[in-house]
Symmetry: C2
Subunit: 400 residues, 2 copies
């Protein structure tokens, strides 16, 4: 065994000199849009559906093949606007537990109660069988999430919605750029909401949008984004301020130009991770259906200590020592959040297995093969030395 | 009578060649902060409490003499965060009817019911006597508004809150920069929320903040701004994404440097309007207490047709012909909005008098004396020719 094969935590050289963080956002250089931004500042038209936001909305609608989109100031606002535009203001909404807390929070802000469903083992997305089981007379909608950018089972969920007369909405915060059957997501279900947060593959700093084939829903969403104003200053219902600024739209317009290449690169990185990690014992990877090309917000890896030799916490610590920073995502599952302690406590075994055993690996728009390989090599070598790595972590924890 | 004294609507020359719109935002030139913005884009740290947002928060707290502020992505988000940070999630909240619809909307999004109170004739702000009359066992808070940047009666409202054990919150969206007793607003009541929207005297494109002397409330507000995350990813309650971007904070930092001069100029413009308009019959102006120096978001003028000779709509149309664009603000009063039709319909005579008879004149950070005088002269000459102006407007309406 070569000395340089030793994990850093056991004294080996770090695999990466430079810290590889969980995200590495890529933004256009300011000079690419400085003139237009300066023109906006000089004119004073910097928000309120200015020309760049309108141009960006047109470009997004074209990209997703929908009649229109409603750009928003962030993904959470887009989610609130989408839910209310779909008429959700009471009753129950079925959501996955294995998602970011923003999903159930949005349901609560709209005045409805989130009902948590378990996830599918292969995609980590909501399990459609469990969704149908949780439908009651109080159910108003299904709000599924494209976890990690993997599209949930749109066909099955749409069919359930139709069968039960429920709205089917997609919190697609992570999945802008994902393709299903060759089509970019955006036109599925009653509506889809997206996030363009800095951590996303497609980023406008902060931003998001609602996309839909339903022009009535889009009109209502556009009103809700602007305080609910529907006829002059009159409001049919209470809206919010979810307006995107011109500068975010300018960045979005620039990003669209290079996004195709970014999506391809992310797919290559995920494939490289898969080839490298699939052969290791005690490692389980997401298995999206072959019809999909996910944008891979992150690359999730579920660790079974019995076979891998280390648990999630030990892997996290050992990788950090290598300068490789993964994320325990989503730890905590939503049905275990303090905010939802009042909800009926029941076991969602697959959501819990994922939430408490996953590490999410970074996927960058500009990740190099070498960078991806560092993660693969790190998994290999900490597995090979698993017993000693576990001891080293325990010692660190004891010392801390 | 000189021909050039004729109102434009009767064939006279326009008072202003250039349209004077209801707002004329002033932003720093991009070159003043381009290097720092480019550095943020290059580093990828463009949101999530980056260094510029933290620096801006420190500067704002210093400006308002409060222990801290929570910067937000807009004023409406700041209002939602403030209400929830004060524990509002049910019951009744007393609000003015004479305000922008964002105020009652925020109460509804928080799960509470807005109860509308009438306004004071001199300040257009909520009438504290009417507030006290509307307190019931279900009342949770008073949410007063600094309409037009005129501070509401903090002393009276604080005393009512104390007497009845209610939170007293200020929707100070319009009033950043207003001084009461020489102190900038921000430290009054349990908390105050501000808007830095492009239309405001102090503008960051979109933006806002919550200010308070209560550090516990500020901590909770900071969590609510970031999805409610309180301990790692766990959430005690559902939050939203109300995060300000770095570029908005950079603009805010630039604006703070010139804001003192802007506030002075706005005060001079208001004084000029007052001197010019107070002598006209049928014109009523706001009369803030002498202890105040309001920032004057707009300058409200209430028109009594019996004495002035023209009603609000006629004034609006005649001024537009002069290239002078005023605003019917707040038409509609909130208790007449369709969204609140379910609320008990009762007459709020002073709010209705204001909402249906006011025109708001623009006040710019860089308004010239000459520009302000155009508005004064326009009022003078449309009043002098009131009967013929009314006929001309009627003819235009008939033709339309």
């Amino acid at each position: 065994m070569r000395e340089d094969d030793l994990p850093t935590i056991l004294g080996g050289a770090r695999l990466s000199e430079r810290p590889l963080n969980i995200v590495r956002p890529t933004f256009p250089r300011l000079e690419r849009f400085a003139d237009r931004f300066q023109a906006a500042l000089a004119s004073g038209v910097v928000t309120n559906q200015g020309p760049y936001v309108r141009e960006f909305e047109t470009a997004l609608a074209h990209y997703m093949s929908v009649p229109g989109v409603v750009a928003c100031n962030n993904g959470q606002s887009a989610l609130l606007v989408m839910l209310r535009a779909a008429g959700i203001d009471e009753g129950e909404v079925i959501v996955p537990s294995y998602t970011f807390s923003a999903t159930p929070h949005a349901v609560r802000w709209c005045g409805a109660t989130p009902v948590f469903a378990d996830c599918d083992e292969r995609t980590f997305c909501i399990d459609s069988v469990d969704v149908e089981r949780r439908i009651t007379p109080r159910t108003r909608a299904i709000l599924a999430v494209d976890v990690y950018g993997i599209a949930c089972d749109y066909a099955a969920l749409d069919a359930i919605g139709k069968r039960h007369g429920l709205k089917v909405l997609y919190d697609s915060a992570p999945s802008f750029g994902t393709r299903v059957g060759g089509r970019p997501v955006g036109a599925f279900g009653d509506a889809q909401s997206f996030s363009f947060h800095a951590t996303k593959a497609f980023a406008t700093m902060e931003g998001g949008c609602v996309a839909s084939r339903d022009e009535g829903l889009l009109r209502r969403a556009a009103e809700l984004r602007n305080f609910g104003q529907s006829r002059g200053t009159d409001c049919d219902e209470p809206g919010i301020n979810a307006k995107m600024t011109e500068v975010c739209a300018l960045i979005g317009l620039e990003q669209l130009g290079s996004f195709g290449a970014a999506v391809r690169r992310r797919g290559e990185v995920a494939a490289r991770y898969r080839r490298g990690l699939a052969k290791l014992p005690g490692i389980r990877l997401a298995e999206p259906p072959s019809i999909q090309e996910p944008v891979w917000l992150y690359f999730p890896v579920i660790i079974a200590k019995a076979e891998f030799g280390l648990d999630r916490e030990e892997v996290f610590r050992a990788l950090a020592a290598e300068n490789l920073h993964v994320r325990k995502y989503f730890d905590i599952p939503c049905h275990h959040l303090t905010a939802y302690a009042g909800a009926k406590r029941e076991s969602l075994p697959r959501a819990e297995a994922a939430a408490y055993h996953v590490v999410a690996l970074p996927v960058y728009n500009d990740m190099t093969d070498e960078e991806a390989d560092h993660f693969v090599r790190a998994f290999e070598r900490i597995h090979r030395h698993a017993a000693r790595v576990a001891q080293a972590v325990a010692k660190m924890s004891g010392a801390a």
